[in-house]
C-alpha cells in the first residue's frame, strides 16, 4: 500500500488530467471530475504527510528496478509537505475558478492542462532521481505552455513564446548539467549521488553544481535570469495566475535546496557565498521592479521574484537552521502569494480593472475585502503576528547569527519596500474613492466560491502566524534528516 501512496502525487493528478481530457466535450462533467480529482489529491497528500511526519520515508522504485538504477520516488518530510501545499493550492485555485472573478476563457483543454501542471509540480517534489526531475520540469513546462497558449489572445501568445524560449533554454541547461553529473559520478539517484559526491574533487563539484544551479535559478526566477516571469505571468486568467505564481518558481527553489542542502551537502563554500549575493540582488531587483508598476498583477509578479530572493537567502545560509527556514518560508510564501493574486482577481471583478489608476473606492463598498487583502499583504511584508513574520524571523535570525550583516540589511530594506508596494495597492484600490464618480458595484457578481477560497487561505496564514510552533517543529524535523544536518 505504501508503494501506491508514494506514487500517488503523480498518479492522482495524472488520472484527473486524463479523465478531464476524455470528458472534454461535456463541460459540467469535466468540472465535476476536476473538483473530485483535486479533492482526492488533497486527501492522499494529507495521508502522505501523516505517514511521513514520524520520520519514515516512503519509497517506490518504478518497474521494480532497484533504487540506484531505476527511477525512484522517495518522499520525506520535505517532499510530503510540499506535495500537500501543491494539492492545497490546486484545491483553492480550482474552487476559485468556479466563481466569475477573471476565469478567462473556459477552454475545454484548460482543466486537463492545469492538472498536468499539478502532476509535474508534485512529481518534481516526490522524485529521488535527477533525470526524472528534469522530466517533471518538462511536464510542467509543456502543460504550463498549453495553459498560456489556449487563451489565444495576442498578448498571451506573445507571453507564451517568451516563456517557452527562456524556460526551454533553462531546461536544456539542466539536461547538460544532469549529463555532466552522470559522467562524473555514474549515478542519478539522490541517495547514490550523495555517497558519490564525497569522492569528487571540490573544483569539479563546484563546476557541476554551477551548471545545475544556474538551470534551477532560471526556473526559480532569480536575478538576473527572471526575465521570463514578469513578461508572461500577467496575461493569465486570475485563478490560474495564482496557481502558477504560488507553485512554479518554488519548484526551482526547492530543487536548489534539494541539491545544495541535501544531496551535495555541504557544498563548496564559494557556491553558498554566490547564492547569497544572488539572493540579495534578486530581492532588491524584484521589489524595485514592483515599485514601478501600477497593474496589480505586475506588482505582485515582481514580488514573486523578490520573495524568491528570501527563500534562496535561507538556502544560502545552509545548515539545519537554514534548510528549516527555507522550508518554512516556502510553505508560508506559496499560501500568501497565491492568495494575493486571488484577491486581485476579486478586485478586478468588482472594479473592472487591474490597473490601480482606474480603480478605487473598495473600502467604502466592501470593507471585508480590505481586511481580507490586508492579511496576506501584511504577512508578505512580515508584520507580526502573521506567518511572514516568523518566516523572516527564522531567516534573519540565522543570517545575523552567521554574521551576514549586508544580507540582513538588504532583507530588512526590501521588507520596507514591500510595505510600500502593499500600501500602494491598498491606498489606490481600497482607500481612495473610485476615479469614476458614477461607478457602482456590479450586481451580478458570483463570488461565493472565490470568497471561500481566499478566506480559507487567509485562515491558514493566520493559523501559521498564531501557532507557528507546530510548523517550525515540522520544518526543523525535515531539515534534521537532510544531508546538510550535522551527523
Amino acid at each position: 500500500m505504501s508503494v501506491w501512496l508514494a506514487a500517488s502525487p503523480v498518479l492522482v493528478p495524472l488520472a484527473t488530467a486524463l479523465a478531464t481530457a476524455l470528458a472534454y466535450r461535456h463541460a459540467r462533467l469535466q468540472r465535476l471530475l476536476s473538483l473530485a480529482g483535486i479533492v482526492a489529491f488533497f486527501g492522499t497528500a494529507l495521508t502522505l504527510v501523516a505517514t511521513v511526519q514520524g520520520g519514515e520515508t516512503l519509497a517506490v522504485a518504478f518497474g521494480s528496478w532497484p533504487a540506484p538504477f531505476g527511477i525512484e520516488f522517495r518522499i520525506d518530510r520535505l517532499g510530503a509537505s510540499l506535495v500537500l501545499i501543491t494539492a492545497l493550492m490546486g484545491l483553492a485555485c480550482l474552487v476559485f475558478h468556479e466563481s466569475d472573478a477573471d476565469p478567462g476563457n473556459r477552454h475545454p483543454l484548460l482543466l486537463p492542462l492545469v492538472h498536468g501542471v499539478l502532476a509535474g509540480v508534485a512529481g518534481a517534489f516526490a522524485t529521488a532521481d535527477l533525470f526524472n526531475l528534469y522530466v517533471w520540469f518538462e511536464v510542467m513546462l509543456i502543460a504550463a505552455l498549453g495553459v498560456f497558449a489556449i487563451g489565444g489572445r495576442r498578448d498571451q501568445l506573445d507571453a507564451s513564446f517568451k516563456y517557452l524560449t527562456l524556460n526551454l533554454l533553462g531546461t536544456l541547461l539542466l539536461l547538460i548539467g544532469v549529463g555532466a553529473i552522470y559522467a562524473a559520478t555514474g549515478h542519478l539517484n539522490y541517495g547514490a549521488l550523495a555517497e558519490a559526491a564525497a569522492g569528487l574533487p571540490p573544483a569539479l563539484t563546484t563546476l557541476l553544481l554551477t551548471v545545475l544551479g544556474l538551470a534551477f535559478l532560471v526556473k526559480a526566477g532569480a536575478f538576473p535570469l527572471f526575465a521570463w516571469l514578469p513578461a508572461s505571468y500577467h496575461t493569465l486568467p486570475g485563478p490560474i495566475l495564482a496557481l502558477f505564481a504560488g507553485l512554479l518558481t518554488k519548484v526551482g527553489a526547492y530543487a536548489v535546496l534539494r541539491v545544495v542542502g541535501d544531496v551535495f551537502a555541504p557544498p563548496p563554500a564559494v557556491l553558498l557565498e554566490a547564492l547569497g549575493w544572488i539572493a540579495a540582488a534578486t530581492m532588491l531587483v524584484g521589489v524595485l521592479g514592483a515599485a514601478y508598476h501600477w497593474d496589480i498583477r505586475r506588482i505582485l509578479a515582481f514580488h514573486i521574484i523578490s520573495q524568491i530572493g528570501y527563500i534562496l537567502l535561507a538556502t544560502a545560509l545552509a545548515g539545519e537552521a537554514g534548510n528549516a527556514a527555507t522550508l518554512f518560508y516556502t510553505l508560508h510564501h506559496i499560501v500568501v502569494k497565491a492568495n494575493l493574486f486571488l484577491i486581485g482577481a476579486i478586485v478586478w471583478r468588482l472594479t473592472g480593472s487591474y490597473d490601480l489608476r482606474r480603480i478605487g473606492g473598495l473600502w467604502q463598498a466592501r470593507p471585508w475585502l480590505g481586511v481580507l487583502f490586508a492579511i496576506p499583504a501584511l504577512s508578505l511584508v512580515g508584520i507580526p503576528p502573521l506567518s511572514g513574520f516568523w518566516a523572516k524571523y527564522l531567516v534573519l535570525f540565522e543570517a545575523i547569527g552567521q554574521g551576514r550583516i549586508v544580507w540582513t540589511v538588504v532583507a530588512l530594506l526590501v521588507s520596507v519596500l514591500t510595505l510600500y508596494s502593499m500600501m500602494k495597492i491598498w491606498l489606490e484600490a481600497f482607500w481612495r474613492p473610485h476615479p469614476d464618480a458614477g461607478w457602482t458595484l456590479p450586481r451580478d457578481a458570483r463570488l461565493a466560491p472565490a470568497v471561500a477560497a481566499t478566506v480559507g487561505l487567509a485562515a491558514i496564514t493566520l493559523w501559521i502566524g498564531t501557532q507557528p510552533e507546530a510548523l517550525i517543529a515540522y520544518a526543523r524535523a525535515a531539515a534534521a534528516t537532510m544531508g546538510g544536518a550535522a551527523p
Binding site: V3, L11, L14, L18, A21, L22, V60
Partner: protein, 153 residues
C-alpha cells in the same frame, strides 16, 4: 488546397491503409527488434498528414480514431498508465511489467503488459503529433495576402 490533386486523391485512399498497416508492423516488431510504439506512432502520423494533404486537415482529423487528436493521445496515456496496474495484483511496484504465454497447440502466443504500454505510446504519439501537424497545416491553408508578416525594417 484549391486545385484538388486527382492523383494524390486517388492514391491516398489505399495508401492510408497501407501506411497504417506498416505502422502496426513496426509496432509489433518492436518487441524484439528495432521498432516500437514511438516510431510506429510517427509512421501513423504520416498517414494522417497524407490524408490532410489530399483532403484537408479537417477530413484527416475525422479519420483519426475517436475523431480527435486530443482524445486519441489521452487514451494512449491512459493505456500506458493502465498497463502498470496489473502489477498491483502481484504486490509489485507500479509499472512492473508482466510476461506470459498463451498456448495455442501448434505454437504459443506471447503476451505482456509491455505491449499494452507500447500501444499506449503508439496512440499517444499518433494523437499528439497529428494534432501538431494538422494545426500547422490548417494554419498554412489560410494565407490571405494581408496576413503576411510585414517586412522588417
Amino acid at each position: 488546397m484549391n486545385p484538388r490533386l486527382v492523383i494524390l486523391d486517388v492514391v491516398a485512399r489505399p495508401l492510408y491503409v497501407v501506411v497504417l498497416l506498416a505502422s502496426l508492423v513496426v509496432l509489433l516488431r518492436g518487441h524484439n527488434e528495432p521498432g516500437g510504439g514511438f516510431i510506429a506512432g510517427l509512421v501513423a502520423v504520416t498517414a494522417s498528414v497524407l490524408w490532410a494533404l489530399a483532403h484537408g486537415p479537417a477530413a484527416a482529423e475525422a479519420r483519426l480514431p475517436f475523431r480527435s487528436p486530443l482524445i486519441l493521445s489521452a487514451v494512449g496515456v491512459a493505456l500506458g498508465v493502465v498497463s502498470g496496474l496489473p502489477a498491483l495484483l502481484f504486490g509489485d511496484a507500479f509499472l512492473t511489467h508482466l510476461w506470459g504465454a498463451i498456448p495455442l497447440g501448434f505454437t504459443e502466443l506471447k503476451v505482456s503488459t509491455v505491449l499494452v504500454f507500447d500501444v499506449g505510446v503508439y496512440l499517444c504519439v499518433w494523437g499528439a503529433l497529428a494534432g501538431y501537424a494538422l494545426s500547422l497545416l490548417e494554419a498554412d491553408l489560410t494565407p490571405a495576402d494581408d496576413e503576411r508578416p510585414e517586412p522588417r525594417r
